[in-house]
């Protein structure tokens, strides 16, 4: 049984089709990402699954439970981190977790959650003294107070610096090790590629692509880019003649080639350099990213 199954979900706000007919399934124990630009409908989708918003039409089942008919039962088995929640300024981290525990019938030990969020040193600090990253980690810990099977994280790293983001990723990885199903939204490509088993790319209320990051890249962007430098320049036509190369840009011995078969082209480059007695270094293979997938499908970038 899939953890979540959504069929033909719609939510319109007047003329704005925030979510316009979405169908997808989230498997048990997978980390599922919804990637898309701001306003794509990611949060609206998530909030309908979380019982926070009424869909206009469509069906949502969480662990086989219809979200609209069994809202309370669903609320007990999901954990939710909302995009913008500020907590009680006057309470400490430990107290905040303890208070939220009172909202659920089944709960986790407070200390365990404090540890999971790496907030041991801050456990007795007021919530308003936390940094942005610590605050986000607290809000994820609060999504876990009821030891849920399914965890929803709405843009868990937005606005954080790379280091703070890294620590959130570690927390999500930890959830994976605990066999939880995680659904997260993001507009960071690296985040979706690094964390997610599968990704749904959303734009204008539609899912425009769905699959593992590799599948999506292979399916939509067939070519990779290799850059390298030669100790002595060779003619562009020689590089162009290498196996698989479809495009070459070269200047002062630095080359940028496009190829659908990067491995074979790479071997070709090394062999060519060897034959000519020049040295090839700074060889970089830039893999296509989900950004390229989005660009390919929509003609736009995710973040503009």
């Amino acid at each position: 049984m899939p953890s979540i199954s959504i069929r033909d979900l719609r939510k319109y706000y007047g003329d704005i089709k925030a979510v316009d007919g979405i169908t997808l399934e989230v498997e048990e124990k997978e980390i599922f990402g919804i990637l898309g630009p701001n306003g794509a409908g990611k949060t609206t989708t998530l909030e309908m699954v979380e019982t926070l918003r009424e869909p206009d039409s469509g069906e949502i089942e969480v662990m086989g439970l219809d979200v609209r008919r069994n809202a309370r039962a669903v609320k007990e088995i999901i954990g939710v981190q909302l995009q913008t929640t500020v907590f009680f300024d006057e309470l400490t981290v430990r107290e905040t977790i303890d208070l939220f525990s009172a909202f659920y019938p089944r709960t986790m030990p407070v200390d365990e959650l404090v540890g999971m969020a790496e907030l041991n040193e801050k456990a007795d600090s007021r919530v308003n003294e936390l940094s942005g990253g610590q605050h986000k980690r607290l809000s994820i810990a609060l999504a876990l107070v009821n030891d849920p099977g399914i965890v929803f994280l709405d843009e868990p790293t937005t606005g954080l610096d790379p280091q703070a983001r890294r620590r959130i990723w570690e927390m999500v990885e930890h959830l994976r090790s605990q066999d939880k199903t995680v659904v997260l939204t993001t507009h960071y490509i690296e985040e979706a590629e690094y964390l997610c088993d599968r990704v749904a790319i959303m734009d204008h209320g539609h899912i425009i692509a769905l699959g593992t990051p590799d599948e999506l890249i292979n399916e939509h962007v067939s070519e990779s880019i290799i850059t390298f430098r030669l100790s002595q320049p060779v003619g562009e036509e020689i590089v162009r003649g290498l196996h698989g190369v479809t495009d070459v840009q070269g200047e002062d011995g630095e080359y940028r080639v496009t190829t659908p078969v990067p491995q074979e082209t790479l071997i070709g480059i090394v062999a060519m350099a060897h034959e000519r007695g020049v040295e090839a270094d700074d060889i970089n293979m830039k893999r296509a990213t989900l950004e390229d997938v989005f660009l390919k499908i929509t003609g736009r970038r995710i973040r503009e």
């Binding site: 909302l82 500020v86 208070l99 909202f103 659920y104």
Partner: protein, 362 residues
């Protein structure tokens, strides 16, 4: 129950830790009371308040009533004998004049007419002034009517069972009423508005906890603090100003809780109707400030012009102040203040229903 208690315990902690709010909640009303008590406590009533019972209804008696009404230094009330006698017992009159039936006829036929005056002797400072002022005015009226002051004979009667009533006795119930109002309009309701703004309400919505349970913890916390606040005011009033309380404390507690809940409901309505905490706070100010000054909680509405009195009686705070005053100083029971209770409970229910209707999670 476990949830409720935990939520209450944390609301209590939050309240205690809000230093600034604690000041406004607990200390500020006491300061106001002390300031007002010292400034006005000894000044006494500036104007004499006189009740006239016109049993005669003749042109002559009406002329006397009008003459009194024309005197600036005296606030004149006209009422039935029962009303006025009750008023002087409650300490609401410095004196009353009873014009007996046939008085006008006697005077116009040249006979000596008889008036009865009753002086409130419990207010020692003013009793003598009241007596001599009333006699002087009546003599003056007699002089003008017939050229001889002897035409009106004044019989003086001692007022019975008059309560010792001072400004502080009047003011403390008013301060309590105001405190309850501010507590309801600018306390927990604004907190909820901020929870809405911060997304805490949405976070609660995605949990199995019901909002009523969450609110119940907070409201219980408000009521606990309200009672503490009331006791504190009564203590300071008693210790510093010799406040005399003739109250059934159970009735007083019931009235305080009803008043607190009623204004809290109004506060929730304000929070439900406004967009964010800031506008809720402004709206609460706009509602509470005029009420504070117009509801007759610092001064008796009997001392102000009639239009202001009518305005005061349209404001819910008036009824809370009135009820508290009756219970605290006149030993009134809950039945005696039924009108006050009906107004408060009615407002509370209407505001509650409306705020549920207009409630928003975000």
């Amino acid at each position: 129950m476990r949830k409720f208690l935990k939520i209450f315990a944390y609301d209590f902690k939050i309240t205690i830790r809000q230093r600034e709010a604690m000041f406004w909640l607990l200390i500020f009303p006491v300061l106001i009371m002390i300031i007002l008590g010292f400034v006005f406590g000894s000044a006494g009533d500036v104007k004499l308040k006189v009740g006239i019972v016109d049993l005669d209804g003749s042109p002559v008696s009406r002329a006397i009533v009008e003459a009194f009404e024309g005197i600036d230094a005296i606030v004149t009330e006209v009422g039935s004998e029962d009303e006025e006698r009750a008023a002087i017992r409650d300490g609401d009159r410095n004196g009353i004049i009873i014009i007996s039936e046939g008085f006008g006829e006697q005077v116009t036929s040249g006979l000596q007419g008889e008036l009865t005056i009753i002086i409130n002797r419990s207010e020692i400072t003013t009793a003598q002034i009241t007596s001599s002022t009333l006699r002087g005015i009546i003599d003056e009226i007699g002089q003008r009517m017939s050229g001889a002051p002897e035409i009106i004979e004044v019989n003086e009667e001692e007022a019975q069972d008059v309560k010792d009533f001072e400004y502080i006795d009047f003011m403390v119930p008013g301060i309590i009423a105001i405190t309850l109002m501010f507590g309801g309009l600018m306390g927990y309701n604004l907190e909820i508005a901020s929870y809405r703004e911060k997304g805490i309400l949405r976070r609660i919505k995605v949990s199995p906890l019901s909002l009523p349970t969450f609110l119940a913890g907070g409201i219980f916390n408000v009521l606990v603090f309200t009672l503490v606040q009331t006791v504190l005011l009564l203590l300071v009033g008693t210790l510093v100003f010799n406040l005399s309380i003739n109250a059934n404390y159970l009735y007083l507690a019931v009235l305080v809780l009803i008043g607190a809940l009623s204004f809290l409901a109004l506060g929730f309505l304000i929070a439900s109707l406004t967009k964010n905490m800031r506008s809720a706070s402004l709206a609460a100010n706009a509602v509470s400030m005029p009420m504070m000054f117009l509801s007759g909680v610092f001064f008796s509405v009997d001392w102000v012009p009639a239009p202001l009195k009518i305005i005061a009686q349209c404001l819910p705070l008036y009824y809370l102040g009135d009820g508290l005053r009756e219970v605290m100083t006149n030993s009134a029971g809950l039945l005696d203040i039924w009108l006050d209770l009906v107004v408060l409970v009615g407002m509370g229910l209407i505001a509650f229903i409306a705020s549920v209707r207009f409630f928003r999670w975000e």
